[in-house]
Symmetry: C2
Subunit: 230 residues, 2 copies
């Protein structure tokens, strides 16, 4: 099992253009905590480190390539390019889903696990390369910079929060959030709408210049709450 | 004004052990958006980049120095070492509060602004050094690594969320959150407490094995909500 999986890493190494000195660190990056075997470590702390690496590499690309963008716009782009959806896509291309070891009851390889292994992978490259940040950033940029820039120019990061929230709650709980207009204040020229978005124990108030804007704002807040607390 | 402030940067450069080739980027890192003057740019996008750099440098120190810590523990440490409180402290030592340019109605230099300039400063060093990540990390570690490790060993990062939340809401709004026991379920051996924490438009439900634990959990959630939405 191990020998063959170590061989299989050749595909990842080929795409990365990087050969690991220590294959066991790559194996660790691809081992979920549910997979317990004597002496096997899981990817949790590597993911913690890799998250910061991927975060920086993405931000650096956005900062350099969109020098006129404001901070809010950059933050919105970043949110997309570090999302489970996007990183999961990159992980699938590297076939990380084929290599990841999961065990116990957790036989399915969720998108969340696949995206985690993508982050852990970058920590593995970083550590194996002797912590050469410039070198690791270079690999990341060779693989993904052009795509990030292209997708950002296509506005792939501009998403609709109500749709995203509904997709999220439907997937996890098979339920939908509800919206309720709480108040409208201000005069005719400058109205302020408050909308309450409720889902299970969570509640968020959104603010906007019209109902739609306030709904979007409440959906965004609730989505953040759910994602922080899961 | 500018000439003298450019000279004054000598103190920052001395502490960093780094002389800027382009002082104007340092000035940008120390200019709040409220300070408007023809051709003056503010630190917003530098802070966006610097946040990722500081984040990575802190995480790298923690990962390397606490190899046995679990992911949850590392995350708790990280939360403290990238907090406004801690970064604001480092910023004060560099006297960034003396150099930062704020204008308009915003005459006071809040802790939030000071901590922001600390992040922006690292982006400035990064860009001015020709984006040499290894070099910038080295400066950061020379200045802060030992302190981060010492404070982490002293458990400075273990904080009480109810206290933190109250400090936060008192400082920003001169008001306090309220707590309410919502439900107690389960049997005698395994009770589950739900506590609701409310502050203004925000509401979070905390869960725990006793009231205190549920209160802490609700305070943590509300604090995250407030910090995400400010």
């Amino acid at each position: 099992m191990h020998a063959s999986s170590l061989e299989k890493y050749e595909y990842i190494e080929k795409v990365l253009g990087y050969t690991f000195k220590d294959k066991s660190i790559l194996q660790k990056a691809l081992t979920h905590k549910s997979y317990s075997e004597e002496g096997m470590e899981n990817y949790e702390t590597l993911e913690f480190l890799g998250d910061s690496l991927v975060n920086l590499f993405v931000v650096d690309v956005l900062f350099s390539e969109f020098p006129k963008a404001r901070e809010g716009e950059l933050a919105q782009m970043k949110a997309y390019f570090i999302s489970e959806d996007f990183l999961g896509e990159l992980a699938h291309e590297l076939r990380l889903d084929e290599y990841v070891l999961v065990g116990g009851k957790k036989k399915e390889k969720s998108l969340s696990i696949i995206a985690d292994t993508f982050e852990a992978l970058w920590a593995a490259v970083y550590l194996d390369s002797g912590k050469d940040l410039n070198f690791v950033r270079q690999i990341f940029e060779r693989l993904y910079k052009d795509r990030i820039v292209r997708l950002a120019k296509e506005n792939k990061h501009r998403r609709d929060y109500k749709t995203m929230l509904q997709e999220y709650t439907q997937k996890k709980w098979k339920e939908r959030p509800t919206y309720r207009l709480v108040s409208v204040s201000g005069n005719d020229n400058e109205k302020v709408f408050h909308v309450e978005c409720t889902f299970r124990d969570y509640r968020a108030i959104g603010v906007g210049r019209n109902k739609k804007e306030a709904e979007q704002d409440s959906a965004r807040k609730l989505l953040e709450m759910l994602q922080m607390n899961m």
